[in-house]
Every structure is written in C-alpha cells, then in structure tokens.
Symmetry: C2
Subunit: 221 residues, 2 copies
DNA sequence: ATAATAGTGTCTATTAGACACTATTAA
DNA sequence: TTAATAGTGTCTAATAGACACTATTAT
C-alpha cells in the first residue's frame, strides 16, 4: 500500500547516582550495528493490538521491564531519519525506579546520564530531548516524578526527585502543601531509618487510584 | 516489511457563531463512503518529507487551507480502528480564524460544532476529543487561542475567545495583566469600531516572533 | 446627556516563600 | 548532650480577583 517502516522506540528513564539516565542498548543489526541506541523494534501487526502494546512488548523483550509508567511521547517520521527509507517511529517514554532496572538485570542494558549521552543513531538524540522536555514540563504540575521512586518513599526523598528534575531547589513548606493538595499519598505505618544519622522520616506510598494515572495540580509546582 | 496502513488525519478547528467547530468532509471512498469524517489521507512517502508535510498537504488539498497553526497531536494505531487492517494515523490539529475557512471556500467542507458532532467513522471521535483536550489545556498557559482570531483583534475579543475555550468567565484585569506578561501583542494604530455602539477598542496583532510559535505563561492564566 | 463598552487604579483575598522553631533519632 | 535531618507555625511577599471609577464612542 504505502511502504513506511513502522517501529516503536522507548525512552526508559530512571534516576540514579549520576542523575537522570536513559537506558541504551547496542544494536544487534544493521544499520548502526553495535551502536548504543534506544530500545526499539518493528511494530508486529499480528501480535500488537496497538502501539502501546508494541511499546510494552519491546520494553519487556529488550530490557526485561514489565509494567512501567508508559506514555506516548510523539511520532517521529520522515524520509531522512532512517537510511532504509521513509520511516515512522512511535516514541514512548517510561519511568522506573532505579532498583527496577537493576532487578530486571538484562545484560546489554546500559544507563547513560542524560547530560553525557554518547553519539546516537537515527534521530534518537531528538527523541530523548523531547522525552526530557515532556518529563520536566509534566513534573511542574503533576505526580509524574513519583514513578521514579520505589513503592515506599519519604517526602524529603520525593522533594529531591522533583528538584533533580526541575533543576532548582524547592521550598519545603510549599512543596509539602502541594503534595497535600495533590492528595495522592498515604502514610505507611513504618518509619524510615537506614541511611539517616538523624530523625527518621515518615514513609508514604501512592494511593491506589494514582498508581496508573497522574494527579494534577491546579497551579503548578 | 510490515504491512501497516499509514495515514494522517487533521482536526481543523475554528471558532464560529455556534462556538468551537471542527471541519468535516464526506468520505469519497470506502470504507465509510459518504460519511462525514476528518480530512485525512495516506502518507505519500515519495512526496511528503515527513508527517508534518503530509498533514500540510492533506489540509491544503482537502480544505484549501494553506499555512495554519499546525501541531502534532498524537498517533492513533491498532488493529481495531480501521476495517482494512492494522493502521496508524498521525493526528494533527490546526487552528484557523473562521474567516479563513470561508475564504478557502472548498465545497465539501462542513463545520460541526464540537458539542453536536455527527456519528464519526474510525476513531475520529476519540481523535477530536484528544484535540479539544489539548487545545483547552494549552489555552490555560499559552498564546494558542490567538490563532483562532484574525490578524487584528481587540483585547475584549481575545478574552471572549479564551473564555469560550475554557468555558468560564475571566477577570478582565487579570486577563490583561497576563496578556501583558506574555508580551506577545503589539498595538495597531487603527481603532476598532464597526459593531460597537460604544467606545472603540484598541486593535492588536501578534508580534512577529509569535506568529509561528507559542508564548508561554509561567503560572497559567 | 445617556447608553454602552473599553480601559485602569486600587483594595482585598489567596497563594507562595522565608525563616525559625520544635521533634526525633544515632552516637 | 550534640549533630543531623524531619516536620510545622507563622509572618511576609507576590499574585490574582473584585469593584469601582474614568474614557470614548454613537445616538
């Protein structure tokens, strides 16, 4: 009908020791064989019910990660982006806690700090830039950053995540007011200690209704 | 390679006498021949440099409209949305002043109020709903609504457009403070009168640098 | 002058941030 | 006890909205 190469690419983001990082994999085939690239693959019309399914399948098969926060980013298309011909990539982005990547432990998956990306094939650098912009923008007014922390977390931890994403310090009182306004957290009865030579902080978890959708603020941040 | 049907669909929006409206066209071919649908068509890999180009071409050929505000909305894909098979539609949305549609004057183009849409083929109702959500959301913190008015407009007119999109009245003083903060308007030297049996309002136009990109508010409207 | 809407000055209410103070743990 | 960080009360600053007043036109 019309010979468009249809693929999905996924920007899998996590927050590790050297900040926000993307999962990259060495390509197994030409073009760009051996070059680190976003986990991606062809859409399988006989297997994937829709694009979202395809992104889930690709993530699972290439990184071992199962049910992350996953959202369509945009479609990237054109004659110039792939040497094989006119192509269209459905780009998705996913957020996972750092521990989840370690636990999945797929061999080829390497994390690269978004501030020190290697040269990337196709328009993958553009796709990552778009994902970062989306993540940072949505972090201003939603619970999106919660998907970068584990199931249990403290408010100071969460605030540090927001601060890392938005690149600026946040007022503690305002931050807590906003989290209360979002009304998405519930206190766990345990307490934090481990790392702290100081007062332990209350642990929280996401309330069930916000584990697969976002809580939104009226007036940002 | 993989047999995915690749199309573009465009949600062309305008603000007319009965509120926000979408341009619909009767389909010339099966499936759904004769049914009103979004202007759309196949991607032409030999002709379109990328998806955006395809959307421009489709809009021009089906509605006669030339250089509207045009932005990618999302990709809609899957096995179930088109009886012909697994398909992927790149959806774009466009904003134009009402007068532009009249001036283009393509025969088959009908405007339907978004509150009274006819039954639509494929997932076009979903696509329109997504476009409206995007438009309303971006209107909260950007100059997007300016693309629904003509080249010259008054602040009261612009405020009415914002109010129509957001479905609520806005404070006049705050609205004007925000427009000043956006710093995107320049006064035209003429004055408005025509319709008014009262004081004429100052005419404004978009400053050149905002004619093809958005001005953004820090803290929403 | 009157009616009608444009445009502004200013007061009040709401929201965000600064800052300090109390709380709770480990050593 | 001290050091360190969690958590909160409260004052101040910034922003948004209410409201009324002046401005400019047609009749």
């Amino acid at each position: 009908m019309n010979d468009v190469i249809c693929t999905v690419d996924t920007v899998l983001l996590t927050l590790g020791d050297d900040g926000l990082s993307v999962a990259l994999l060495k390509r197994e085939r030409e073009p760009y064989k051996g070059v680190a690239a976003l986990p991606g693959g062809y859409i399988h019309p006989d297997e994937d019910r829709h694009g979202f399914d395809a992104a889930l399948r690709v993530l699972k098969s290439k990184t071992g990660i199962d049910a992350p926060y996953l959202e369509q980013l945009a479609a990237f298309s054109g004659a110039a982006r792939d040497p094989r011909g006119w192509s269209l990539s459905l780009a998705y982005y996913a957020l996972v806690p750092h521990a989840v990547i370690a636990a999945a432990g797929h061999p080829g998956v390497k994390l690269a700090s978004v501030d020190r990306l290697p040269p990337l094939p196709f328009d993958h650098a553009t796709i990552i830039a778009a994902a970062l912009e989306r993540l940072r923008s949505k972090s201003q007014y939603s619970s999106l950053p919660c998907f970068l922390v584990g199931e249990l977390f403290t408010l100071p931890q969460l605030q540090r995540v927001y601060e890392a994403l938005m690149g600026e310090g946040l007022n503690k009182v305002s931050f807590r007011r906003k989290m209360a306004e979002l009304d998405m957290l519930e206190a766990a009865e345990g307490q934090m200690d481990a790392s702290s030579p100081s007062r332990p902080a209350q642990l929280y978890r996401l309330r069930p209704q916000f584990r697969d959708r976002l809580a939104l603020l009226k007036r940002g941040l």
